[in-house]
Symmetry: C2
Subunit: 252 residues, 2 copies
């Protein structure tokens, strides 16, 4: 039996999603809890390998069990064992062939920037503090240039195993919420550190170091050195994912 899990986690104290030998990770914590509750040792597949410090508001995962299980009891049991910064939102049986990783049609990330001069205490783990003037209108113009199908090689960190570099971005917009600036980006897939490098590029535009019109040229250049810095992990949250079994995601 295949089970689909929805999770939420505060990534501050974890070395990312993926299980590691000598570090505490979300996948590691979850697999340990599942071992106790199910008395099986399922390998959990996650929608993405979030980096150390990255958060998730709605992270999809799946795992297989040989014995059938009571999903409500599993939710309660796993949540009782997990630390309070990782929670199972829901668990339900799903199609045997469902993969949280390969069946995601679109993912939305939220990157938060704190533009207050002092640094909002409630966002200190969830936003990049930028205590200097930013031209938000130019950042908004730059954000729009990421829409569409592009080869995003210029916005990919080294160490990626990706074989294709074209992704389709269907949402790329900034929303100002008081002193918190929210950047939402939705796409059919993302290269390694792509959202953080795009955000770093938007901030370079906001500071006047890059013109919004430079973005299409940087995309075409496929040259990582021309894009902005990689924004800090703590500002990034995997916000939501859309699954549609009829349209498998073919970009991985």
């Amino acid at each position: 039996m295949n089970y689909k899990l929805r999770l939420m986690y505060d990534g501050t104290h974890y070395a990312g999603w993926q299980r590691q030998q000598n570090a505490v990770t979300i996948q590691g914590q979850l697999e340990e809890a599942l071992l106790v509750i199910t008395r099986e040792a399922p390998a959990v597949t996650g929608i993405s390998r979030t980096d150390a410090g990255v958060h998730a508001a709605d992270f999809t995962a799946n795992f297989h069990l040989t014995a059938p299980c009571d999903t409500a009891r599993l939710c309660r049991g796993v949540n009782a064992l997990l630390p309070r910064d990782i929670r199972v939102i829901s668990c339900e049986p799903c199609a045997e062939e469902f993969s949280a990783r390969f069946d995601a049609v679109r993912k939305t990330y939220l990157y938060r920037m704190d533009i207050s001069p002092y640094g909002n205490v409630f966002f200190r783990q969830y936003a990049w503090h930028l205590p200097y003037p930013l031209n938000l209108e130019k950042m908004q113009q730059a954000a729009a240039h990421f829409l569409g199908c592009h080869d995003f090689s210029a916005f990919m960190a080294q160490g990626s195993s990706a074989k294709t570099f074209t992704r389709e971005i269907t949402e790329s917009r900034l929303v100002q919420n008081g002193e918190i600036l929210e950047y939402y980006i939705t796409g059919n897939g993302f290269l390694y550190n792509m959202v953080r490098i795009i955000t770093g590029t938007l901030v370079a535009v906001g500071k006047g170091k890059l013109a919004p019109e430079a973005v299409p040229e940087i995309i075409l250049s496929r040259d990582r050195t021309r894009a902005g810095m990689t924004a800090p992990a703590k500002g990034l949250t995997l916000f939501k994912a859309i699954y549609n079994d009829a349209e498998p995601c073919d970009v991985y």
Copy 2:
């Protein structure tokens, strides 16, 4: 010279506002930073003595210095010394007789409740987790009964030095924000633990243990044992304050 400070703090790791000999407090941290920056040792007066674990989004304080100071420099210097969970939002000279405590005309508190079954990880330090069904309509009705001028003795914890018990409540409303329930209460003053006991009473109504119509009777009884439990400190945030020198607050 008298200076007015606006602060923001995450109270999770502090034993409340008030300086104590053997505990880390907001006032203690702030006074230590001011000593270094101003080379004077000003006593800081705060708008209220928030309890251990209570937060503040906009907390007003004031202090006197003998030497004039550059307030922009003071802000930067104090923020550089303070831990990241306490921030100075602004500092400005104010009237010599201004008191952050006695001149507050109205204060607004926000109490957050998390009504998700699993417990939102991002609110684990900022909301009371209530993972069971609550009748929000009845809670809303109960909240309205707190409006107006009342003797709130039934909603006061022991250990208070208050001499008068009548306070005027001008806002008392619940706002649902997804799985986070926000309770806003504004008044000209609050007795010790009053907001937390009112919130505990609203939750007793939500669970069906009390009828909304019982609230006026409990107020009239002046009997603490008839009100609900004291809600946990972590859900409470001092949200904002209104000052108007023409209308001094006379309830303290």
